[in-house]
Symmetry: none
């Protein structure tokens, strides 16, 4: 069966979406999850458009990926300079990434009205930029911007741009529906023409679509049906305006319905947790109605459906949900079954018998119903496992805490927290100031504990995310706090849920520190992926 090359641009084109924000470290975690999912090419951005991107490429250069190659993104050379004298192309040539994706103009309207570049010069810009990078030992992908609009206005010129790129040594030429308004029948017709026109060359044909007409996924499929073998998209369809093509829908459509080869069975079964993990990192609520991976995608209402599904799931389900790591009904989590829980426990060096595993599954379900979500909170989950097996020692017993934040008449904000705890029969009372209530509680707690547990000094809170779970209730609703914590070697996550943001933060803080201390007291089987 034809293999389709999967190209993820969440970290570049996806980041153009409203509210998309990831640190370099978080982008690295996304890249590893994409690699584990089985993505072939991960577009990471322009290697030095700003210090954050520079840091990302430095980090990426030091990593090893099992499946994926990293692609650096840039533009064809500027008008009137030679490719090797173009500073941006030089940056791409010098960066570690083995693959370079260059975007270039294809639509005469843009040549005439936006960049004001002559048609022949544009072709030279394409040819020379690609040839330069190929000469530097790079694999080059050419993204033909606005291809379908260009094809509609001036078919001959649009095809010449592709042919120029192919002749210059591009490995893949990608037809982009940059403005996203093209419908599937036009994608299909243009791609037939493209594939025929480039049949003599050995270049791969790719497709890059946007969802402005609600057809991004169908457009990608239409291109593949005509011979495209490289598909660009983003996780969950993130991207500017209406978003990019959603790889999380395209992959199972290609593999389960059209028989193309994309991922291994195990990788495909990680589709749902991967989609959710990346949503959580971005602090977005995973879309419950998302095809294949949404919490509602296999939700059945009404007894008739449920009975029919029990008799034969194909009566009301277009695929078996477990194939994509999803499950029937409402609760969705990586940890849905006993087997999964036992596997996770083994990773942490904990033996769980069947009864204990069933108990954990029931407890997780009850907690998820209250808003907990363990996909991004591995530290809290492991503590839950340890509590189940008795292999757990609390750091302290809480008597009480109090946090006060005050904006004074002179405009200064003062924060102070007091904690009262018991350790080994002794009472500790400690007060600290902080930049905010969680910081003050953190400091007060550490002040009390650090002499007994000096390892606490090495533990830093690296991220803190808050989300309201029932958005219709505003600040009175249930709050979920996710903390990421590091001791320099490892990063782990913890979670707290409460109506009160400070109480939820406290809970996540205590889990984070307790997990870190468990780690210092014994060797852990499973390190986090960061």
């Amino acid at each position: 069966m034809t293999r389709i090359q999967l190209y993820d641009t969440t970290l570049r084109d996806g980041m153009q979406g409203e509210g998309m924000s990831l640190s370099a470290g978080e982008k690295l975690r996304v890249a590893h999850r994409l690699d584990e999912l089985g993505i072939d090419l991960i577009e990471a951005g322009f290697p030095s458009s700003n210090p954050k991107e520079q840091e990302l490429f430095t980090l990426l250069g030091a990593e090893t990926f099992a499946n994926a190659a990293v692609a650096a993104f840039g533009m064809t050379r500027r008008r009137g300079v030679s490719a090797d004298a173009d500073p941006a192309l030089r940056v791409i040539a010098d960066c570690f990434a083995p693959v370079c994706t260059l975007v270039g103009k294809t639509w005469t309207l843009h040549l005439d009205k936006v960049v004001k570049v002559d048609r022949e010069e544009n072709l030279r810009m394409i040819a020379e930029s690609i040839a330069f990078l190929v000469g530097q030992g790079k694999r080059v992908i050419y993204d033909a911007e606005h291809f379908f609009d260009g094809y509609g206005d001036d078919r001959g010129y649009a095809l010449r741009c592709l042919r120029t790129a192919a002749d210059a040594g591009a490995e893949t030429v990608v037809c982009c529906d940059t403005n996203g308004g093209t419908l599937p029948h036009l994608v299909s017709a243009a791609m037939t023409d493209v594939v025929a026109g480039l049949a003599e060359s050995k270049v791969q044909i790719g497709i890059h679509t946007h969802d402005d007409a609600g057809c991004a996924v169908a457009n990608a499929l239409a291109a593949v049906a005509q011979g495209a073998v490289h598909v660009q998209g983003t996780v969950n369809g993130y991207g500017e305006r209406c978003g990019n093509a959603n790889l999380i829908s395209i992959i199972p459509n290609l593999q389960l319905k059209l028989g193309y080869e994309c991922l291994t069975e195990g990788q495909l079964a990680s589709l749902t947790p991967t989609a959710n993990y990346i949503a959580e990192l971005l602090n977005f609520t995973p879309d419950p109605d998302s095809p294949y991976v949404g919490r509602n995608a296999f939700a059945h209402k009404g007894g008739m459906h449920v009975a029919a599904v029990a008799a034969d799931p194909t009566t009301f389900e277009h695929i078996e949900p477990a194939i994509v790591g999803n499950r029937r009904d409402l609760l969705i989590s990586e940890l849905s079954g006993k087997g999964t829980v036992q596997a996770r426990a083994r990773d942490a060096g904990i033996e769980l018998d069947d009864d204990a595993a069933a108990h954990v599954v029931a407890r997780v379900k009850a907690l998820e119903h209250r808003g907990y979500h363990y996909e991004a909170a591995d530290g809290s989950f492991e503590l839950l496992l340890r509590k189940e097996t008795g292999d757990y020692e609390p750091l302290f017993r809480l008597e009480s805490w109090r946090a006060i934040v005050e904006k004074r008449a002179d405009g200064r904000v003062e924060t102070e927290a007091t904690i009262k705890i018991w350790v080994d029969g002794e009472r500790y009372v400690s007060t600290a100031e902080g930049n905010g209530p969680v910081n003050a509680l953190d400091r007060a707690l550490r002040e009390a504990l650090v002499e007994i547990h000096p390892h606490l000094r090495e533990i830093d809170l690296v991220n803190f995310k808050v989300r309201i779970l029932d958005e219709t209730k505003g600040t009175g609703a249930v709050t979920r706090v996710l903390l990421d914590v590091s001791d320099g070697d490892r990063v782990w996550g913890s979670i707290g849920v409460s109506e009160n943001v400070i109480e939820a933060s406290w809970e996540a803080l205590v889990d984070a520190l307790e997990y870190g201390m468990q780690g210092s007291r014994q060797v852990l089987g499973k390190a986090s992926d960061a």
Copy 2:
């Protein structure tokens, strides 16, 4: 040009979606908006499945619609009874609705495994139920459930079901992709066959799709391309699992890109407000990334885009946003220039001269450097503009506030906030409890202000998001709080940034309320599109 009949099932199939809830009175408001939009047929549900549906049909029977006819929904008769003796068909026959939509089995798998009905009896159920209602003077639409799955398993039988319905007098037979997993090329192939097979009869062909493969819109378009002239869907794609086909995307695709006749120009220009209105009635945040009507659908970042759009909007926009009642959104970001700021100011009814605009740009840059981000905080941005032009009146002058959160020895968490403010030379001191510190501050502030500004009662916080901006500093880093606030008519966003999460929340809260009150104190040039 071919006219396409638009059939909305938001009030029936759409209501199967998670969290969908409307009173009979609200459904009536939806029906009127659908009628004004130019929908031809409004499916309202089964006339007596419960008292709420009964009430709805009573209300609907008393209304007059300009464009739309109301359709009652039901199933083919039960096995082994005559149609006129079937109580459910009798209810439909007796209700005022001139159109009846009957759903019936088409897939042999369902006949064999779910309803256990013999194939010939199923055909009689279809024929007799339709003939009965036609005899009662109704226009009948036949919804062939699971048509595409049935066609794949037993083409001949699936087509016989349609032909039976046509022969019995159905005005329209609708091919339904009930489980939603069919891809466009299969819809296209089956519809070609259906249209050819029913060419001799005068029956209209319809299409009803679901989004389980992310292709519901493309599937509807594929069916129309093969000759379907009746399209079923829901507003915003609401519906169970992954939702129904989104009429709000399908309509402009058909009319603006494929040249079919659907709505008048004026009706099409009401598409965005209609989509937002129905979302608000359902208490859902309108999806900002929704094709055509989303807040981000025509959003432009970056100076190059903005300049190109100014030169020729077709360079970066697939349609002119005003055609569907949407508007171009120039996102305010570090990359924005004076032109963008002036355009945004004009939208808000504020005149900014060049100097003032340059001043705002410099101020936005400085604020964004500190972590502010105005893309999702239109309320805060407009206040910033008003402050620049002197067209700003604070709600109050703050003396001080204090929030205390305490976890007591008995495990209870208590939260209390006190504010001291000045309004018109008078000092107000107010204390309130809350579920968390922000909720308590919000309550204390409103308690002090609500007698002076009763409109504050109508303002609700609908969303609250917190992020740490410099993750390497953990809880001591800068915190960004985004609030979404609504007064029922409009939704706006505000932002606060501080090292202290409570101070950042306070800042966003004050902006949110001040913006809301600006709206009540004067007519704004720029109303939100909701």
